[in-house]
């Protein structure tokens, strides 16, 4: 529902959009064909680029995987609708890097020594348990599906803003992603990742400089923004009772962020542990503030997801809008492909008996995308960000096995598995009982505090994991 006077991108905008979006799909889809057929489609070299990536390439890959429709569509939408509350994404993308610095170099080292490609491999080697490996693998798979769904929402949003009617944007978003990954494999995102980053940087830099100038500076922008918010509390920027969700959502998102198959892949592909440490120094540079600008432009919509596209339509001429929309769509397409392929190789490596072939991986990647489509159609969440937070609820349950497993504690595979099962069951039950809300109201001595469901369920995991392994020393942590 856009206002009737809403400007459109015009034919110039649509043409520019098509040129960049279609060119990216063609470039990606034809990537493996251009490189020659019959190449080895399995193994370390293919999926991690031979672990040869230095600081700069790792910066692009890790940061680029992180910079998706989540940043450009989902976060601005929730900031637009709820104000400062949606801003938890900022502390989240800051505290994630001290965490990465402290934890990921060790994981990278272990993975390199053992020749592991993903989290489930590491866990199997460390705890010698095929069941725990499968559990971690399944969790990665189910968690990444709603995250891919978020990317599809991102592509659908810009196609809608270009004026495509009804269900066509979602169908087009799905088909373009399917073609891009089906024909290109991992070569598709590898070939187009730099193009994607370049386009996104141009658009973000243009947005954070031009839009505030257009609106008369950041001061005017904030003043204008507060008018649009339903309840801007006096003196406080967060509403009553929002402090704890703000902090804990940031924490839970940060803890889950680098457990996902697609982000962990970027970390494991680094040349050595010190590359990751140096990266953690530079990565906060990615953190930006697109969401706030959305308030300022005076756009009124009942569809928060479309705030950023509408903002661009209101301010920029058609051809820039076309370029920006293409950047947003490509910025969703490339990570979605990495996620789908990551999920597929997880299935063929860790879940299916024996090592799978390229055909199985390709079919699985398609099924994962169909599942993501199903997520959008069946769950119909209020905000796209809820899809990512839903994935985090599950993803967090792998933290004990992967990260607490690094500490010299005597955790056992049985204990971790039981904790994982309890956390998954508790987390899923709470989140679906609450109607897909990312936070659960916890009633303590009369007053309710809201805690993210994933963290709540994780408590169960930790307590069980530590208490269960009582005196079964024989299956303790193995040296890797």
């Amino acid at each position: 529902m856009t206002a009737p006077s809403m400007p459109t991108a015009g034919w110039a905008g649509i043409a520019v959009f098509l040129v960049f979006f279609v060119a990216t799909i063609l470039l990606g889809a034809s990537a493996s064909w251009r490189k020659g057929r019959g190449r080895d489609k399995d193994g370390e070299d293919w999926s991690l680029g031979g672990r040869s990536f230095g600081t700069w390439v790792t910066w692009f890959i890790v940061g680029g995987d992180f910079y998706t429709a989540y940043t450009i569509i989902a976060v601005p939408a929730v900031v637009y609708a709820t104000g400062a509350y949606g801003f938890f994404a900022l502390p989240y993308t800051i505290i994630v890097y001290p965490f990465v610095y402290a934890v990921m170099p060790r994981l990278c080292q272990i993975a390199k020594q053992g020749g592991h490609v993903i989290a489930a491999d590491i866990v199997r080697a460390r705890f010698g348990s095929r069941s725990l490996e499968r559990a971690i693998g399944v969790t990665g798979l189910v968690s990444v599906v709603p995250y891919i769904a978020l990317q599809l929402v991102g592509i659908r949003t810009v196609l809608e803003a270009l004026g495509l009617p009804d269900e066509i944007p979602l169908i087009a978003a799905f088909l373009s992603l399917a073609a891009y990954t089906w024909f290109g494999g991992l070569d598709a995102p590898a070939t187009t990742a730099f193009l994607k980053d370049l386009m996104i940087y141009i658009v973000v830099i243009a947005a954070v400089t031009v839009i505030p100038l257009h609106l008369g500076g950041y001061g005017t922008m904030f003043a204008h923004a507060s008018v649009h918010l339903k309840a801007a509390p006096d003196g406080h920027v967060l509403g009553p009772g929002e402090s704890i969700p703000h902090a804990t959502l940031a924490l839970s998102s940060a803890l889950a962020a680098f457990l996902y198959p697609h982000t962990l892949t970027g970390v494991l592909a680094a040349h050595d542990a010190d590359t990751i440490r140096r990266n953690a120094v530079m990565l906060p540079a990615y953190t930006v503030l697109l969401g706030l600008m959305a308030h300022a432009a005076g756009i009124v919509t009942t569809l928060p997801s479309s705030v950023v596209p509408l903002l661009f339509l209101a301010i920029f001429p058609g051809w820039i809008v076309g370029f920006a929309f293409a950047a947003i769509a490509v910025g969703a397409l490339v990570p979605a492909a990495v996620m789908a392929i990551g999920a597929a190789s997880l299935v063929t490596r860790n879940l299916l008996p024996g090592r799978g072939n390229a055909r199985a991986a390709r079919t699985t990647a398609l099924l994962v995308k169909v599942a993501a489509l199903g997520c959008i159609l069946l769950l119909n969440p209020q905000f796209a960000i809820d899809l990512q937070l839903l994935g985090s609820v599950w993803m967090l349950q792998t933290l004990p096995a992967l990260v607490i497993g690094l500490l010299p504690l005597r955790l056992t595979a049985t204990g971790l598995l039981a904790g994982w099962a309890a956390g998954m069951a508790a987390g899923s039950w709470i989140v679906f009982a609450d109607g897909l809300k990312p936070v659960h109201a916890l009633h303590l001595d009369g007053s309710a505090i809201s805690i993210p469901t994933g963290l709540l369920a994780l408590n169960v995991v930790v307590s069980l994991a530590v208490s269960l392994p009582a005196r079964r020393g024989a299956t303790g942590t193995r040296a890797v």
Binding site: L90, G219, H236, H246, A250
Partner: protein, 69 residues
């Protein structure tokens, strides 16, 4: 830098404690949940959190530079 106790392991541990500061600074929400003092038109709530972006980068750099045994 910190030269406590003379132990060659104590210093890296102390330096690594700097990594906890962003967590404290950003997760203690009541401390910054207010609009003033504003800076360049940014309410305190926003500029305080944004200020942690370069600050965190700097802290991680210090840990990387001085935190190794």
């Amino acid at each position: 830098m910190i030269q406590a106790g003379g132990s060659r392991y104590l210093r890296p541990i102390l330096v690594h404690m700097l990594l906890l500061l962003p967590f404290v600074g950003l997760l203690w929400v009541p401390f910054y949940d207010r609009a003033t003092p504003a800076l360049f038109g940014f309410p305190f709530f926003y500029w305080y959190q944004l200020a942690w972006v370069p600050l965190t980068a700097m802290l991680i750099w210090i840990v990387w530079k001085f935190g190794r045994a």
